[in-house]
Amino acid sequence: MMRSLSLIGTLFAKDVRIEWRQRETVASVCVFGLLVVLIFHFGFQPAGEESPRVLPGLLWIAFAFSGILSFNRSFEAERENACLEGLYLAPVDPGLIYLAKLLVNLLFLGIAESVIVLATAVWYNFSFLPSFKWFVLIVFLGTFGYAAVGATFAAVSANTRMREVMLPVLQFPVVFPLFIASVEATRSALSGNISPEMMSWIKLLAGFAVIFTVLSYLLFEYVMGE
């Protein structure tokens, strides 16, 4: 158990250290998220009072598309110098590699999401503070579930001819329930409506995260190959 944790820690630290030296992924994910918010604004031009209705969807669309960048990069980086093969050949339980990738993506996405939320708060003059606790919980659970699926499918699509394009095609049909739940729960939280329905959505998010993390952990050795 301790060895597993320390292995995950090592793999996690490796990816964070690589990212720290170049800061490519986090920067591009943040910028892309901001661009999505901007395009959304020009596309829909929501009036001030429409913000609470529009914000949950807007935020999760931005998170969804930024996530794709992050997941793709997490395995793209391994393609140089046959790092991917090296990783597969290492005497490590494949599930642990998956968990480390999951945590790395969670971290990068979390940073990007913070930037996006901050920008949205400014641009839409909307305060997230009254509902902060619930909002953070919902975003964390939603991002966790999303990263759980994203990390697996990024590994799958890294093995295909169409790589970056394969990832959204594969993962969006699977994560739809996650987005439905996230948007609905966020909408409830941001409008201050802490109802039993919101709790059901949060439970769905938690369930989704658990189910897909466990499933991916078990299936990852097959993704890695023979």
Partner: protein
């Protein structure tokens, strides 16, 4: 493996005969519907295709699990073939649905629970088939497809729950009750009969596809042997 139960000529004849009988049932035997007139008869095809499509996805799941458990090429073939044939049936659902909806509801489409779920099922089939066409070598293709098939199938009940909750929170403009909200006996019999015909048809296509995949594998095996000897 599958379908050694009865030989393929018998299967074909039975399928054609049953389909012809189903056509008779749909147009002659089934009574008129009070509000919808003749148009409603498309639901026999629509619902039968839908149930068959869900069965197909279950077979994709079974084949995927079977492949991961014992790496049997037949299991992989089953998943592959069921994916392809199932895609045809789910596309049929998405085409016949709007064809029926427009005259009856006045709209081509609505994002209610059932339609949304069916569309996501269609997307799951599409992504499965796209993955199969974009992976280079065979053992890797089978492994990756198996993983995707399993994850997709586990997702279906979650989709079902989520979409249903979502739709009950956002009620749609009133639409006539679903096609099987209490069917009179004659209609129910027609529906089940038609579904039987569609199942036979599905298994017929599945059989053909499995045979093709088996032959392809045999040919590559022979090619490999020739290459080694040369």
């Amino acid at each position: 493996m599958l379908g050694k139960i009865f030989n393929s000529r018998v299967h074909l004849i039975l399928t054609v005969a049953w389909l012809l009988a189903a056509i008779y049932m749909i147009f002659i035997y089934a009574p008129n519907e009070a509000n919808q007139g003749e148009v409603y008869r498309i639901i026999y095809v629509h619902v039968s295709s839908g149930w068959t499509a869900f069965l197909a996805y279950f077979l994709v799941f079974l084949g995927s699990v079977g492949y991961l458990v014992n790496r049997s090429p037949q299991a992989d073939d089953l998943a592959h073939a069921a994916g392809e044939v199932g895609f045809v049936f789910v596309s049929c659902v998405l085409v016949t649905g709007p064809l029926w909806a427009k005259p009856i509801w006045g709209i081509w489409w609505t994002w209610d629970a059932r339609l949304t779920l069916t569309f996501i099922l269609w997307l799951l089939f599409v992504s499965y088939l796209l993955l199969r066409s974009f992976v280079a070598d065979s053992p890797r293709a089978a492994l990756l497809s198996a993983v995707v098939g399993i994850i997709g199938f586990v997702d279906v009940p979650i989709d079902f729950m989520a979409i249903r909750w979502w739709r009950t929170q956002h009620p749609q403009p009133v639409i006539l009750g679903g096609p099987d909200s209490g069917l009179p006996p004659k209609m129910l019999i027609t529906l089940l009969f038609t579904w039987g015909a569609f199942l036979l048809l599905f298994f017929w296509f599945l059989r053909l596809r499995l045979e093709l995949l088996r032959m392809k594998r045999e040919v590559s095996g022979l090619r490999r042997e020739l290459a080694i000897e040369a």
